[in-house]
Symmetry: C2
């Protein structure tokens, strides 16, 4: 790589971004200008300008030099490239969706493609903002609303949605959007009143290019007795609806008053450090945090105690198909990553609201329709959590207990897609484990139902309000690097041995059956056989056990897609037809349901296509994908806001280390825990504040008498050394 290119990758202030850092504001500007320069004759709408991660071949060379501490002496760096999804818009309004990769160092375009008409970009903020405006101005929509008998001055609230699966795979599909229509509770002017309790039986459909409502779908509102028919189609759809609110000022009876504060206090600061834009070090872990508009937070180049564990870890896709067979509900299917974008939808987190303790926030750098960089503040939060006991043992002879606590490092982001919220977290622990957590919350999607009826396809969560049965089908992508990039997946199951004198004379014996995954393909969970998957490095053996070093994944044996395999809905999310997929790494293959999901009729370029190549994956650059989900048949308790439905999957070392890697975690006795005492209920509240570095502590001791509302603060100062726990 010539010297001039190296200098060009330096940002103005001399800052050299890490190859995995998001594009800088300046780099987004350069990428935009390259595209504008190449297509100066045409109007351009920018969809996405995002880092094109370096090829694995180049990046791993760079990372190798980085981990060896040789970066200051190497003369090359991976080029900084941007992938730009944009629209060329002709004077007569014809739109071509294009994708380029440009080198923001050299200014050269590395690739350019006009995409197939079947490919649709994810929704952007401009479209989401436009949809309600176009709808409200539409004569078709006005007419449909006028045919309903609504209270005077009813405020209409519209949730824009992706159009869902395109039903005619042989035809090109124009870009459409649909919307779910609600009213605000006529009894309030509060703009945060919960409109999902007041659904209207209309779905307007917009031609996006024309900015025109082309059709109003009338919704079936019947119950069990109506089958697929439309129901009574009451012209007074709100007559029986009642408020069901979640903003505090609208909750009847107000909020509960007896919840006392619980504070997480880290007087000596965090145990993690952040270097540059992306490097995190914590408790022998070292990794980088990435962020992009599609996946939100991503994790890269994960090492523990000087040994490589993962190359890349991400939440790749999530689809939410609805199970109500009546048209047009078969088009209620959101791909929240591919149609929307977890990064685009990421909440700007707020201190004291989304986590406790000492918080590091990361910002996201995205772009607007003009290609200008947009900084989204605090889209990722990182903090430590206590998760109970990590390990404990008591020697009953001596009475000595040694107990350590399970500290975790959480990298979290939260997305809002109209009604729903999802909370995603990567969790690192001190014993070499990594967990991926999803929490579903927000408002269940609602449609109207004739008052008094019930439905086989959902539940009544408020009068006249049907929450339809649906699924949330996630897929995580695990690109392992177990002591290197050549890894093997081994399926392990536990089975009873034959009950016979020669093999298993007492009938208690069982065997562990191992199956090496040799070519790309799929597998399913089988908890009845204790089926797990180990990702091992066959070239390196554990010095204690002699087995290949590895990590294990216990797959979540959750229900897979309920849509019929021949349905458009199922075909679009083939990734959700099996729990596990194993593919051979190719650069850029990051998307379980393929790069373009919006209005798709079939999963194209998704994980099934990758697996179908039947490539070697034994002792090779294997990628593991895990699909799991939640069949969500709503409870009344899921309205107006659903308490989190939490799901975790775990990656744990399995003969990777030569003993419990957390055995050196200190069993420090927490100095601020206090006793609840019976009778007078007198407790002492102790908090530690570091004062100097000679090991002294100041304790402020508070006597709490919670029989009364009095609290008396007593300040003391005393010497206090660090105590080990239960020793």
């Amino acid at each position: 790589m010539p010297p001039n290119q190296r200098s060009q990758t330096k940002a103005p202030g001399g800052f050299l971004p890490h190859p995995l850092d998001q594009l800088t504001i300046e780099e987004i500007g350069k990428a935009r200008n390259i595209i504008l320069g190449l297509h100066s004759a045409t109007s351009i709408g920018f969809r996405t300008i995002t880092l094109e991660e370096p090829s694995k071949k180049i990046l791993t060379m760079f990372l190798s030099a980085e981990h060896k501490g040789e970066l200051s002496s190497v003369t090359w760096r991976p080029p900084r490239r941007a992938r730009i999804l944009f629209e060329l818009i002709s004077k007569d309004g014809l739109v071509e969706l294009c994708e380029s990769v440009v080198d923001v160092g050299t200014g050269l375009e590395k690739s350019f493609e006009v995409l197939d008409k079947k490919c649709h970009a994810p929704l952007n903020a401009e479209e989401v903002a436009m949809f309600p405006e176009v709808t409200m101005a539409s004569p078709l929509f006005k007419k449909a609303i006028s045919e309903l008998s609504l209270p005077p001055n009813t405020v209409i609230v519209i949730d824009p949605w992706m159009y869902g699966g395109w039903e005619n795979p042989s035809e090109d599909c124009p870009r459409y959007m649909q919307g779910l229509v609600y009213a605000r509770d006529p009894k309030t002017t509060n703009p945060d009143s919960n409109h999902y309790a007041f659904p209207l039986p209309l779905i307007p459909v917009m031609d996006v290019a024309k900015k025109e409502i082309i059709r109003i779908d009338q919704l079936p509102t019947g119950g069990t007795e109506d089958g697929l028919e439309v129901g009574t189609g009451s012209k007074e759809p709100l007559a029986h609806c009642k408020a069901c609110e979640y903003v505090p000022e609208l909750i009847p009876g107000g909020l509960r008053q007896d919840l006392k504060p619980l504070n997480v206090v880290q007087p000596y600061g965090p145990s993690f450090t952040v270097t540059g834009n992306s490097l995190v070090e914590w408790q022998k872990w070292r990794f980088r945090v990435g962020f992009n508009p599609r996946e939100g937070a991503t994790i890269h180049d994960v090492w523990y105690d000087g040994r490589s564990v993962l190359y890349r870890l991400s939440f790749s896709e999530m689809s939410v198909p609805y199970g109500d067979p009546r048209a047009p509900f078969h088009r209620k299917q959101a791909f929240d990553f591919g149609d929307g974008g977890a990064g685009r939808a990421a909440n700007n987190l707020e201190l004291g609201c989304d986590c406790l303790g000492l918080i590091k926030y990361f910002d996201g750098i995205m772009n607007d329709v003009h290609g200008k960089a947009v900084i989204s503040k605090n889209v990722i939060c990182m903090h430590e959590q206590d998760d109970g006991i990590l390990w404990k043992h008591t020697n009953y002879r001596t009475g000595r207990a040694v107990v350590t606590r399970n500290r975790r490092l959480i990298i979290q982001f939260i997305i809002t897609l109209a009604n729903y919220e999802y909370i995603f977290a990567y969790q690192f622990d001190q014993a070499g484990g990594i967990s991926l957590e999803t929490r579903a919350t927000g408002v269940v999607s609602t449609v109207p139902i004739d008052f008094g009826k019930t439905s086989p396809w959902g539940n009544i969560v408020s009068p006249g309000v049907l929450a339809q049965n649906h699924q949330h089908l996630f897929c995580v992508r695990i690109d392992p690097a177990i002591d290197g990039y050549e890894n093997t997946v081994v399926q392990e199951e536990s089975h009873p041995l034959p009950f016979c004198p020669e093999i298993n004379p007492y009938g208690n014996g069982y065997e562990v059956r191992k199956t090496v995954m040799k070519t790309s393909g799929f597998a399913d969970a089988a908890p009845q056989h204790g089926r797990i998957f180990k990702i091992v490095n066959e070239n390196k053996h554990n010095p204690i056990s002699g087995r290949p070093v590895g990590y294990k994944l216990v797959p979540s044996p959750t229900q897979l897609t309920l849509a019929h395999p021949d349905s458009i809905m199922a075909k679009r999310m083939a990734y959700a037809s099996h729990h596990l997929w194993f593919t051979k790494h190719r650069d850029g293959e990051l998307w379980a349901a393929g790069p373009f999901t919006n209005q798709s009729s079939v999963e194209r370029g998704g994980v099934k296509d990758m697996a179908d190549r039947k490539e070697n994956i034994e002792n090779d650059d294997v990628v593991v994908w895990h699909s799991f989900g939640l069949t969500h048949n709503p409870r009344v308790e899921d309205f107006p806001i659903m308490p989190v439905e939490t799901h975790q999957i775990h990656l744990k070392p399995a003969d990777f280390f030569s003993k419990n890697p957390a055995i050196d975690v200190p069993s420090a006795k927490n100095q601020t825990s206090i006793l609840y005492k019976k009778g007078g209920l007198v407790s002492s509240f102790v908090t530690e504040v570091p004062q100097s570095h000679d090991g002294d502590r100041r304790k402020s001791i508070l006597i709490v008498d919670d029989n009364s509302t009095d609290s008396i603060a007593v300040q003391k100062t005393q010497q206090q050394g660090i105590k080990a726990c239960c020793m």
Copy 2:
């Protein structure tokens, strides 16, 4: 009930225990004296003196009066009764195991039974203490040890074990114990050195009545190539063993130094209250905490917001069968509840070690072999935990987010059974949910293996040390009271609808199939069908959905027993042959594997026998049992102490409430969360200390510069109101 009996149930100080309170010290004394009085001619060894919970019929009448606030006016209380398991020992040493129930109010014996010779009491502390002494003094054992070539002055360490399944079901079985034998690392004199890294190939067997070692089982020490044969039987079994330590002072390289304190501080005290010995109220929950030697902590009479949810909740049994087919390992099968006793094995918890924040401890009252009451301090801890986000929604139009945190109340106990530890917790949340958590930790059970060999039946976790494959099979007992005691279990599954124009024209539709459990029996998990179980009250319907009010249990689809169904091992734990059991309540039927598991050959009086009665359980007093487990094929990382393997099951309201019951949880902004800042990494540390009751706060603000080791405390005082979160 006559007045004199009422007065007799009053303890000396006038204190009237709740019918679910543990026996008091005085009551244990009375129970003892009743038995001594009735059997004055014989020597008596007391095994267990524990509360005989009142019959459900009487207790529910009492609870009804209690909940109506009528207790002060009712003239009766359930009698206080003790169940006493004891041995009558004749002058010539013959032992009869007996069980009595006595009324400690009237002093009358209500029942007396000499138990079948096949019934063996759980191990007690005296036997556990006696076993190593008898072994060390045994000529047989001395001879066996002398035949091994051990370093001079090797210290022998013995783990007493239950004998396991009795192989001759037709014969009465004498009371036996066995022991696993280890050496202390010859290089240290530290009594907490990890002897499990130095296993010896002997299992001594003791006749308990005779206090005599009757046999030394020589252990097979072979590897894969030896099949069921014994292996080389090296006479230098410790030659290749190496230390693998967990106590801090013995860990090579010492402890990690970079973990900074994380404190949980509750400046206004806890959100819970404890009344009397057992009544807990927290966040609309109200329940009682019980404790007994067999189950440890139990939960009773659970109400939420004035509505009944559960009658009784407990961890009923756990068996740990080992899967190594070689004799005598087929007898490695512990019933930790029935053979040992979770209450007897409960750790005395220590402030700052086993939980953080403000802790309420409960003591356990048990007895010694003389029938004297023994108080075991701090056997249960109760505290609040933060568990991330409870629910969140952002109205993307207004940008307003409302977010609440998931506070939980944890009732936890930890047991030690020789090598293993288990952490059990009941967790209550604010959304009407109850979770049961198990964590397995401690030391995996080890036996010797010839150096350099590997085994199909376990893993090498230290040189010459085999950790055998095994299972942990739990069973929880759920005695529901969903708005009353007559409940029904309904199995629900989600299935695709037929893909045809009349039923499911687009292929997306799915149905929910419901099956009412009409008679007692069993069921298994079927996650591929999204199978869940609802416990409903058919007599009461949700005002919103019209469905019966209920709670749902998502069963854990974990692997069930791997032992062959015809093996002694499997027969003793029939409860672990299915995930779910449904039985009709009978008083005293609390034990999944039957009342007497020690040396059993078959599960007698366990949940299978109860289910086999085929009683009506529809709209009746149904009890739900859930078996789940962990197939534990050890990793090297599970040694010397295993990081927790955590498992949770959840009971969640399903149309029990008429909306999210946690919608009134305040979205209070936490005032002590602080920012980690880039660059200088300057953060502000804020802690709140209540000063007075006019809403003022003092904040102490600490500037932490964690680029250096300096910490500069800056004290400020400022006014600060309570802020709602993200409003």
